[in-house]
């Protein structure tokens, strides 16, 4: 059985999404959560480009992937900024410690 290009991309997509999903559930460190999110987004990128290629519209897939890359980078930057500030004020990066905060 030989896998087509699209099937190979789907294997990568599903694997990256699954690994990122596990990382999101298993990690309590804010930085690790951002790493897991990044892994999931890599899978989404692969899926977008593969879908564009199979439909004969690679450029459309590329333009969408470009938006995803920008959004992903901004999410990472904002997450890291939050992490740095939270670590400075609370002394921890544990997300459970954040959920105990009361206003």
């Amino acid at each position: 059985m030989s896998l087509s290009l699209f099937n190979i991309a789907l294997v990568g997509l599903i694997g990256l999404l699954g690994i990122g999903f596990y990382g999101l559930m298993a990690s309590r460190n804010l930085i690790r959560i951002i790493v897991a999110l990044q892994i999931m987004v890599k899978g989404a990128l692969l899926g977008l480009i593969a879908a564009g290629q199979v439909n004969g519209q690679v450029n459309l897939g590329q333009s969408m992937a470009l938006t995803v890359i920008v959004a992903d980078t901004i999410v990472a930057v904002m997450g890291m900024a939050l992490g740095v500030q939270i670590r400075a004020r609370l002394g921890t990066l544990d997300v459970r410690a954040l959920s105990r905060l009361r206003g």
């Binding site: 699954g18 990382g23 590329q62 901004i74």
Partner: protein, 188 residues
């Protein structure tokens, strides 16, 4: 075969990024995932996105990660994750299975060669113009986030906020008590 082995290596690197004990190691594995992903994207014909992913995903984001980890330190969190590891692993495997079951049978499609592909500039600037506006807004908010990252950071507190508040309250109580005692002595 080359493509499939690249995908497998990417998945192994992603697992290592999640499993790594140190944050800095984790971010380096993530950079490797980004680099391999950009190679995959290049092989799928998305040359522009591959270059951007390599420079932004493997370059900029990694530098930011290393910078942030240097600022926050690499202290391990001793307590266990909220769902136990076996439950998390089971749910992730179930997610992979269900997604594969849903997606893979429908993926046997013939390549749609009848669609006329438009040039990248036309797609990006004319058809997806609204995306570019969104990107500008996102980049602006990213700059604000970076300012937050670079903002002056106070020294970390010794304990949690609650213990800090409690110790301050105890100090205040002791001060009030000593004030009361000294007042009584003067009245005698």
């Amino acid at each position: 075969m080359l493509l499939f082995s690249l995908v497998v290596v990417t998945l192994i690197c992603a697992v290592q990024a999640i499993r790594a004990k140190q944050l800095i190691t984790s971010s380096l594995w993530l950079a490797l995932v980004s680099a391999l992903c950009s190679v995959l994207l290049f092989m799928y014909g998305a040359h522009l996105v591959a270059v951007i992913e390599l420079s932004v995903g493997a370059g900029l984001v990694t530098v930011l990660f290393v910078f942030a980890i240097n600022m926050v330190g690499d202290d391990p969190i001793e307590t266990k994750p909220v769902p136990p590891r076996w439950l998390g692993m089971g749910l992730a495997l179930l997610f992979i299975f269900l997604l594969g079951w849903y997606v893979l049978p429908g993926s046997i499609v013939s390549s749609a060669s009848a669609v006329v592909e438009q040039p990248m500039s036309e797609v990006l600037w004319q058809q997806r113009g609204i995306d570019l506006v969104v990107q500008v807004v996102l980049i602006f908010s990213g700059v604000l986030g970076l300012l937050g990252l670079l903002a002056e950071v106070k020294a970390p507190l010794e304990g949690s906020v609650a213990s800090e508040v409690l110790s301050r309250r105890e100090d205040e109580m002791k001060a009030m008590e000593s004030q009361y005692l000294s007042g009584q002595e003067t009245s005698r």
